[in-house]
């Protein structure tokens, strides 16, 4: 039973990370209908920035709490800046191009960023500093749920609540929802669509950076290639939940995280990634609109 609960929590932790990344995909897709292929790379850059800042600070002997806060803020700021810049360079000029053009551009961006980090840093796996210490009060249940898992779960819940509040009540959230419903109409009622799109990229990238920071301190190592797999899996989660739908992304991520966790725990860990990819292919074949997504009919 303990094993089951352990797997359950490990699945929820995975799911939370996927959710943080998947939200970026789903929000961008909801607004400009583009699969932001470079999103996984933004997550990677967030993790890398956190790694660099945290290591530098720990070498210079800062206290742990300061390291966590500064590294977290740096990861979010830089990932958001990257997201914003990528949108301006690679997607904005292609807003009225045929559908495939921005997608190819996004793939190019993703390859470019991976190799940029590879060349500027290193191709080796780097040990990520342990930012989250074991809490004393977690001692009795530490064999079931680790302190890192708890932090990840709590952070994710907090972030989700904030995001929901932003989307529901803030001005920019309302503008986002309006833009995703009908971009032309949104322009007509005086919404600055370009600003909304930039904000979407900034928010999505910040979430991915938080995910990157959390997973890197959970796993304990990073390299330039982590974004690819994480990106594909988060995309799978977003599609599973119905791309374009925010609650769908969270639901899909949790389902994906749990199934992966149970599959590796009870079946075999060799085919973990094959499993995620197969799930993606199967969903797209049988229910391309996802669990909570709306089926759209193409009109002439």
């Amino acid at each position: 039973m303990d094993y089951f609960i352990e797997l359950l929590f490990s699945g929820l932790t995975r799911g939370s990370i996927y959710a943080l990344i998947a939200l970026g995909y789903t929000m961008v897709y909801g607004i400009i209908g583009l699969i932001n292929f470079a999103h996984g790379e933004i997550y990677m850059i967030g993790a890398f920035t956190a790694f660099i800042v945290a290591t530098v600070l720990s070498i210079y002997g800062f206290p742990l709490l300061a390291i966590v806060i500064i590294a977290g803020v740096a990861a979010v700021v830089w990932a958001a800046s990257y997201g914003y810049t990528i949108e301006k360079i690679a997607y904005k000029p292609l807003r009225h191009a045929p559908r495939l053009s921005p997608l190819i551009s996004a793939i190019g961006m993703s390859i470019f960023l991976q190799n940029y980090v590879l060349l500027a840093q290193t191709s080796d796996f780097l040990p990520f500093p342990r930012l989250i210490r074991d809490f004393p009060f977690m001692e009795p249940i530490a064999h079931i749920i680790g302190s890192t898992d708890l932090v990840i779960l709590v952070t994710t819940v907090v972030v989700m609540v904030i995001l929901t509040l932003i989307i529901k009540f803030s001005m920019i959230g309302k503008a986002m929802r309006a833009t995703s419903q009908d971009r032309t109409m949104a322009t007509l009622v005086g919404i600055n669509v370009n600003r909304v799109i930039s904000m979407t990229f900034i928010i999505g990238s910040s979430l991915a950076a938080i995910g990157g920071l959390l997973i890197a301190s959970h796993i304990g190592q990073i390299n330039f290639y982590i974004g690819f797999l994480a990106g594909i899996k988060a995309f799978t989660a977003a599609v599973l939940g119905g791309i374009g739908s925010v609650p769908g992304a969270v639901l899909g991520s949790m389902i994906l995280g749990l199934t992966e966790s149970f599959a590796t725990g009870y079946v075999s860990s060799d085919y973990e990634d094959v499993f995620a990819f197969s799930l993606l292919v199967l969903i797209l074949i049988f229910k391309p609109s996802g669990l909570l997504g709306k089926a759209t009919n193409q009109k002439v």
Binding site: T49, I52, S105, Y116, P127
Partner: protein, 407 residues
């Protein structure tokens, strides 16, 4: 004043990029030795580089804006190759020159050069194969390398277990890859462009991961070695001989592929593909069987990849899953995009540029993938039609004497 404004903007953008690339470019930490290296020079290079690139881009955008009315003239200039190909006598001359060069190549240059050229020619065929799927039919296939892997492993495994020869396996590998193409194509036909891209990507990764993990079947990550080289009518060739033979084989393959793809392009099927690419609904309204047309595109594209897979296994005598990563698909896609989607000459040129350039600029070869990524982005933004745009065949109505009488 305007110049000053421009300058200010340029400086601001360079500063932004310096900020953006600061943690990754400037700081380098060694977590084990616990040392920090501050590479301030990189920030300076970044600033200067960004400023220059920004100025150049602005300059070109301005010039393009100014010469808008004369764009037809520019268009004509860019299609020198097309004009060359349109004139029958020049075309014949060009072909003769190319044929002589192709035949003389391995005799004049070392076997290393020949080997490099063979690889480039393989990518020409792969690019032409992907061109059917992406360029003509407009289906973005990011898992193209899966079919390449199918071909390579078909030859590797059948040769390893049953000792079957290259020439027997060549059609088998191609057909098996085509079957995989249908297998993948069948369920994903209903999907729209971007979903299709992701599914094909997933498929490509599944094939690679299965090859990596299913040790009893494929020997896992260590791969299969000692695959027989292709033989010439049962003759065993020495190393140099087989390199030269591989080269001529590839030349024949390229000619064959160009012939087939060219014929396909102007066939009923080829026009159906282009129609499908341009507008799916209108295409269906014209009575084209959408599903069948897409399936044929998929399987034909996969067929070429399968053939090349067999050639690849025969050429390197060793296959392992590491040769079939997503990056390989991305390289082939970059070839098609750079050359010009749907354009045969463009794809050939794209393959030669992208494969030969990093080979001869060895010092720059580590920047290869970086450049490929940048090429994909820049081509989409500045020249989506590619280096050599495909010119759609137009049929001109010629007035005959009968028409003149009638009117």
């Amino acid at each position: 004043m305007a110049v000053f404004q421009e300058l200010k903007k340029g400086v601001l953008i360079s500063l932004w990029f310096v900020f953006l690339t600061f943690p990754v470019m400037v700081i380098k930490v060694d977590p084990i030795a616990r040392t920090v290296t501050w590479r301030w020079m990189n920030a300076l290079y970044m600033a200067v580089g960004t400023f220059i690139i920004y100025t150049l881009v602005q300059f070109f955008i301005k010039r393009r804006g100014r010469s808008k009315p004369a764009s037809t003239q520019k268009e004509a200039g860019s299609s020198v190759i097309h004009r060359l190909l349109d004139n029958p006598r020049r075309r014949a001359m060009l072909f003769v020159v190319l044929a002589v060069a192709a035949i003389a190549f391995p005799q004049l240059l070392s076997s290393y050069q020949t080997n490099v050229m063979t690889t480039a020619l393989m990518y020409v065929v792969l690019g032409l194969g992907l061109n059917i799927v992406v360029g003509l039919a407009g289906l973005l296939d990011l898992g193209f390398v899966a079919f390449y892997a199918v071909g390579a492993y078909t030859y590797a495994l059948l040769n390893h277990h049953f000792g079957l020869g290259f020439w027997t396996i060549l059609p088998v590998g191609g057909l098996l890859a085509a079957c995989f193409g249908i297998l993948l194509g069948f369920p994903v036909l209903r999907l729209r462009g971007d979903y299709l891209a992701i599914v094909t990507l997933g498929f490509g990764e599944i094939i690679r991961l299965v090859l990596e993990n299913w040790g009893e079947f494929s020997k896992g990550p260590s791969g299969i070695s000692n695959i027989a080289r292709p033989s010439l009518f049962g003759m065993e060739l020495d190393l140099h001989g087989s390199i030269v033979f591989n080269y001529y084989l590839m030349v024949l393959f390229v000619i064959f592929t160009i012939f087939v793809v060219n014929r396909l392009q102007n066939s009923r099927l080829g026009r159906a593909w282009i129609a499908l690419r341009e507008d799916e609904i209108a295409c269906q309204a014209m009575g084209i069987d959408k599903h069948r047309t897409k399936l044929v595109a998929f399987s034909l594209g996969a067929f070429w990849a399968g053939l090349m897979g067999v050639v690849f296994a025969g050429k390197t005598t060793f296959v392992n899953p590491a040769s079939f990563t997503f990056m390989e698909s991305a390289i082939i896609l970059a070839i098609v995009v750079l050359g010009g989607m749907g354009s045969i000459v463009g794809v050939i040129l794209g393959a030669l540029i992208l494969i030969l350039m990093p080979e001869y600029l060895r010092g720059l070869s580590q920047y290869r993938m970086l450049a490929f990524g940048a090429i994909l982005v820049c081509m989409m933004i500045f020249r989506p039609q590619g280096l050599i745009a495909n010119i759609r065949r137009t049929y001109v109505y010629k007035k005959t004497p009968n028409d003149a009488q009638a009117s």
